[in-house]
Symmetry: C2
């Protein structure tokens, strides 16, 4: 432990700061598993906001970069370690408290999404945002990336549920923004600015999250389409009249990957599959399901099945959620997260198919189709540099295809380090300059999450 790190370790309780290489290993990679990962000079496992403040004051004093880290499930390199930096882990700060009268959860950033959901459910309340990784990802990471998920098409994303936060700025100042009140327009919307800032502006040490009454068990429609274009057309048709609580798409490659991994009897010849849920209350459920079925049939579905059995529905949702895991045996994966306006979905999916052919890589696609947010997964052979080279070309091409269609390089994973080079291609030099101005105003020494997008 060098003198500089020792100064921090001495200021914090024993065991908070670790520098042992074996212990540090855990804090290097996130789920990106990118080979450009560095090694931190230390990891700080904060147990309180005071520890975070102490760490940032120390980092500012010494000009040391700080990489914040929740559960380390970033798919865009958002919490990858950087050589010489300190990784600030929030994993030990995971208190969750429910205020039923105010319908809010007051949570620490290390709490897992699933832990907040469970605590809310115990009071017949619901915290909607549900990234596919909800069982293993932290609320702090969700806030950092403005995480989405499957129910967002009806219930919105993380930012829609953040009513308040404590955030520690680069210089160690703790600022409280918002609170338990639902509506508040006093001053600039700084709360919303910190959501999605990927640890580049400050570190959230507490959040007040809005809860809603418990969701009804949903009914599920599975529709098989000859082509992805037909499925995408059905997505638009459904959205015209129905507020479905889930509108997910799997293309042929994804269906086959899942069937290979865990056979469920999905139609391997389908061009695409739509998985649609309705949680409409009471007797209106039937009407909504009928409208979804009709929309699918109108758009050329060759097989449509509906079930009111939550267990059966959950089985299909599991098939969708397992997509990412199902790809593991096939090789390494570059996970994409591009989005387009919903009407551009067919064009984007066609473009992805062309890119897969052009670069001779497999690109199974799942999509939060109702929001136009797709997850093409570029599969490659990690041991074969040529395969990896082609995969990286495809990765860039997919992002530029989305941009060309008026879309985004990231709908919910964040820019992180993997996509930092492409951000300006999407938002343009003027918006990029504005990002830099806000960053410079809040973190003038640039110590927060260095090497990230701004």
């Amino acid at each position: 432990m060098d003198d500089v790190v020792k100064e921090l370790a001495d200021a914090l309780p024993a065991g908070v700061v670790v520098t042992d290489p074996a212990a540090l290993e855990k804090y290097r990679h996130d789920w990106t598993h990118d080979s450009s990962v560095g090694t931190p000079r230390a990891a700080v496992r904060a147990e309180s906001a005071e520890h975070v403040q102490e760490t940032l004051r120390w980092a500012t004093r010494h000009g040391i970069g700080v990489v914040p880290r929740g559960a380390g499930t970033s798919l865009s390199g958002g919490s990858m370690a950087v050589d010489g930096c300190v990784t600030l882990s929030l994993e030990r700060m995971r208190a969750v408290e429910i205020d039923t009268a105010a319908k809010v959860a007051v949570v620490e950033p290390g709490a897992l999404n699933v832990e907040v959901k469970k605590a809310a459910a115990a009071e017949d309340l619901w915290y909607p945002p549900d990234p596919s990784s909800f069982e293993i990802c932290s609320i702090g990471g969700n806030i950092a990336t403005n995480a989405g998920g499957l129910c967002c098409v009806k219930y919105g994303v993380t930012t829609d549920y953040v009513l308040g936060m404590d955030v520690v700025l680069a210089d160690g100042t703790l600022v409280t923004l918002g609170g338990k009140r639902v509506k508040d327009v006093a001053g600039l919307s700084l709360l919303k600015l910190f959501v999605g800032s990927e640890g580049t502006l400050g570190i959230v040490t507490k959040a007040v999250l809005r809860l809603v009454p418990a969701q009804q068990p949903a009914s599920t429609v599975i529709a098989i389409f000859p082509t992805v274009a037909d499925a995408a057309a059905a997505v638009i048709e459904i959205g015209r009249t129905v507020r479905a609580s889930m509108v997910e798409l799997m293309d042929r490659a994804s269906i086959n990957a899942v069937e290979d991994f865990r056979p469920m009897g999905l139609d391997r010849d389908a061009g695409a599959l739509l998985l649609v849920q309705s949680d409409a209350p009471g007797a209106s459920r039937e009407e909504e399901v009928a409208a979804i079925v009709a929309a699918c049939e109108l758009c050329g579905a060759k097989d449509v099945e509906a079930t009111d059995d939550p267990a059966e529905g959950e089985m299909f949702v599991q098939a969708r959620r397992v997509h990412f895991t199902a790809l593991e045996p096939r090789g390494a994966v570059l996970p994409e997260d591009v989005g387009v306006p919903v009407p551009q979905l067919p064009a984007l999916l066609a473009e992805i198919e062309a890119i897969a052919q052009r670069h001779q890589v497999e690109i199974p696609v799942v999509a939060h189709a109702g929001d136009g947010n797709t997850h093409p997964a570029i599969v490659y052979d990690a041991g074969d540099p040529e395969s990896e080279r082609r995969a990286r070309l495809a990765f860039d091409d997919v992002m530029h295809a989305a941009i060309a269609l008026g879309g985004t390089i990231t709908g919910e994973h964040g820019v992180g380090r993997l996509k930092a080079g492409c951000l300006e291609d999407q938002i343009g030099p003027a918006a990029m300059a504005l990002n830099r101005r806000v960053k410079a105003a809040l973190d003038p020494d640039g110590i927060l999450n260095p090497g990230s997008f701004v």
Copy 2:
């Protein structure tokens, strides 16, 4: 017209810049009608983003303050003219275009909220945010204040519907943020930062607004309570299980003011009235209405009536909306907009009653009760300085009562000029400093809406 103004007038088409005192009169006051209003040196009636850019480049060059203005319906002095400044009116920029496939409206800032609603309705789509002034307020003003309204309790506020915008910065640079895509986390959430910034960071010249399928005609429940505390308890009870589409409260003074103005047979002896709507789809409506009625009865309502007739329901909503107009014959009004966490609603309402007695002023209250957002209206005699003095004391006391209860000085109207002095009391010095840092980064010369909250 002085030489400096002439330089701008010459750069813009004829009729865009006006300096004639009679013509300027229209651009002095907003709905605040505050006596501290100034007189602008000129008004610019921009017809395009280019005119806005030209104006801001000129203002930066000469260090002249610019007060942006939509329909001039601010209740917090947000668009009050300032001596020596230029008022930049967006009233002529009011195009509205609906993209049905993407379910968005692309609008110019001067378009009225009602115009966007109507254009969406023509395509069976709906733009939810509905400030009480929706027939006369502009979308630009709605975005500037992150306006709310009656349906927010279920459908959220303006920021939840803004997917993209063009904004002109102080130096005249036009930046495009977001677009027609529903989910996008690329870069900092600058879009959300501009929403609610009250014209202090930039001027919105175009907005992309999210639309949803048309709302079903609602069923309405009217419940009469012996006390406001009972009514407030019912609000919490309703929120526990039901997602009502409207939860409005009127206290006795408000009921009587409305009855005096337009007799509707409301119970003048009621302590408070709740106006609750359900727009649950199809046959589930009945269940939701029954749950609302049961919650009201559980909390001591002495009379509860429900109707499925939209026309009858709308009559009650009109009674609620007319509140503000109904006060006109009673004197001048200082309109409040304080909010608290919903469980603090009874305490806030009791505190307001005590403040009314203490300062011997009438303070009828209506509230978007489901969100904890109240509109106490402090009535005073404009011709009597002593009455006005007491009203202003009450105005401050109401804000500090909300702050003491963990609330906000403004839930949806904005801080503007009227509440600028109280903002730091609510958010504290650290958050205030953060507001100033962001303001300085984006508007270093401080030309945008000078004298406003930051």
